[in-house]
């Protein structure tokens, strides 16, 4: 059956008509619908959905493969990783949306390790035996690096990613790029030279060696012995950040710190300035609180001293003396009063006695005193007065002026 119907050489068909035709044509081929193929896994990626996508390589040829979650679970398939040599069973079809020929895997059979994987394992074992991966060799990363070395390609997106992280997290730093080719045959010697150059320059406090994600081949330079040894002899602590989370390279094992990606490496290299800003605010608050505590402590001490001083002050003594003085004054006054009234009494007695002798008392009984006006002498005899003399008679209630008429 021809799904396209009868076509002459001048007919034009749509893309979808052709891709549909290709799919049907492939799926109509019984051989292609149940076949075993062997090759080496590369660019392997398992998505959160559980579907696994990879490229099967052999020689210069490659085949895109999809291994759906349902098939993986049904066949208890091992976790696939780059470098694995596999025989895969499944069917060939055409994926219209991407315009790709794809192999839909139903089952896999590992065929031992692939060439890359074998070399990787051998080098890993050898360097591990030398002690290059030992935990004691790992140096602590500086907490506040002033200068950060980066060994990567100047064109790489990874470099821009790292600089973006460093700008946000720690703009106080200076970055020195030691440019290197990170893929291709010259990559190992280029990375090694760049690392050595960074050490020769010597200002970097920490260095990041890395590149973004890629296939096993693209990341291969980081599995090179030369690079491993350059990392090992670096005086500057090294952070590796190669590929994605799932990629492990020899460089990761030798590095002082393995970060899963270049971005993670930049994050690990520096503190977060935002934490410092917060810390700085807290420090200012601490200063204020400490100063307040200091001052209030001082105030308490001053108050206590003042209190002590008050207890020892002579004021009480002065008050005591003042009271004594008051007492004395009062006693003095009482005494004076007493003395004065005593004298008043005595005076009254004398006055009474004086009174009893007074001639006025005699006059009161009817006697009179007669005095001469001219010389005030008392007339006690006839001889003392002559006719014509002016006399005054003093009686009880006053005086009577008189004139002598005859004798």
């Amino acid at each position: 059956m021809n799904p396209l119907g009868s076509l002459d050489e001048l007919s034009v068909i749509s893309v979808s008509a052709l891709t549909l035709y290709l799919r049907d044509w492939l799926e109509a081929n019984d051989i292609l619908q149940n076949i075993w193929v062997h090759g080496e896994v590369s660019n392997c990626k398992t998505y959160p959905s559980g579907h696994c996508y990879f490229t099967l390589k052999e020689g210069d040829a490659q085949l895109l493969c999809v291994f759906f979650k349902s098939s993986r679970i049904r066949t208890f398939a091992p976790e696939l990783c780059d470098g694995m040599a596999l025989a895969v069973n499944g069917r060939v079809s055409f994926y219209e949306r991407d315009g790709k020929l794809q192999f839909y895997v139903e089952a896999v059979k590992p065929l031992g390790t692939g060439e890359f994987f074998e070399r990787f394992e051998q080098l890993k074992v050898r360097l591990a035996a030398e002690g290059l991966f030992d935990a004691e060799r790992k140096r602590l990363l500086p907490s506040q690096p002033a200068v950060i070395g980066i060994v990567t390609s100047p064109q790489a997106a990874a470099l821009r990613d790292m600089l973006r992280v460093l700008r946000v997290r720690y703009p106080l730093a200076r970055v020195i790029l030691s440019p290197a080719q990170v893929q291709g045959t010259d990559a190992p010697s280029s990375i090694t030279a760049a690392l050595d150059l960074l050490n020769e320059h010597g200002e970097a406090d920490v260095a990041i060696v890395g590149r973004g994600g890629g296939s096993v081949e693209e990341l291969w330079a980081f599995n090179d012995e030369m690079v491993a040894r350059a990392i090992a002899r670096s005086r500057i602590p090294i952070i590796s950040g190669v590929g994605h989370e799932t990629d492990f390279t020899i460089a990761d094992f030798v590095a002082d710190y393995r970060a899963s990606t270049p971005t993670a490496a930049a994050t690990a290299a520096v503190p977060n300035i935002e934490d410092w800003r917060i810390d700085m605010l807290e420090k200012r608050q601490t200063l204020v609180a400490l100063m307040q505590a200091y001052m209030s402590d001082l105030c308490v001490r001053v108050e206590r001293t003042q209190h002590d001083l008050e207890r020892m002050s002579p004021r009480r003594l002065i008050e005591q003396r003042r009271q004594q003085l008051d007492d004395s004054m009062e006693r003095l006054q009482t005494r004076m009063h007493h003395m004065i009234s005593l004298r008043v009494e005595r005076l009254r007695g004398v006055a009474l006695r004086l009174h009893s002798l007074s001639p006025l008392l005699t006059i009161a009984r009817g006697y009179a005193i007669v005095r001469r006006d001219d010389n005030q002498k008392i007339v006690s005899q006839v001889e003392d007065a002559r006719p014509g003399d002016d006399l005054t008679i003093q009686v009880q209630d006053g005086t009577i002026p008189v004139e002598v008429r005859r004798r």
Binding site: Q144, A146, P154, L159, R160, L163, L166, R167, Y170, P171, L172, A173, R174, V175, I176, L177, S178, P179, A194, L197, L198, E200, H201, I273, W276, R277, M280, L281, K283, R284, T286, L287, L290, M291, A293, Y294, D297, L298
Partner: protein
């Protein structure tokens, strides 16, 4: 203070705080530590606000001389 590196300023700030924490220093010294501490915190904060990442590139010329050049991406 203008040219003081952040790290040093930060360290001096910590020292000022430690001195105040001790609490057994004379008042004028305490005040000095406090004032210096506040200035340092302000200075550190300013440094953090206006800091800008410097990006350079190592290069070796034909004679093998190592130099550092600015890198503009």
């Amino acid at each position: 203070m203008e040219t003081l590196p952040f790290e040093e300023a930060f360290e001096r700030l910590e020292t000022a705080i430690a001195a105040l924490q001790d609490g057994k220093i004379p008042l004028n010294e305490a005040l000095q530590h406090y004032q210096e501490g506040m200035k340092l915190a302000q200075y550190c904060n300013e440094l953090l606000q206006r800091a800008e990442l410097t990006v350079q590139q190592l290069s070796v010329d034909d004679t093998g001389t190592l130099s550092v050049l600015p890198l503009n991406l």
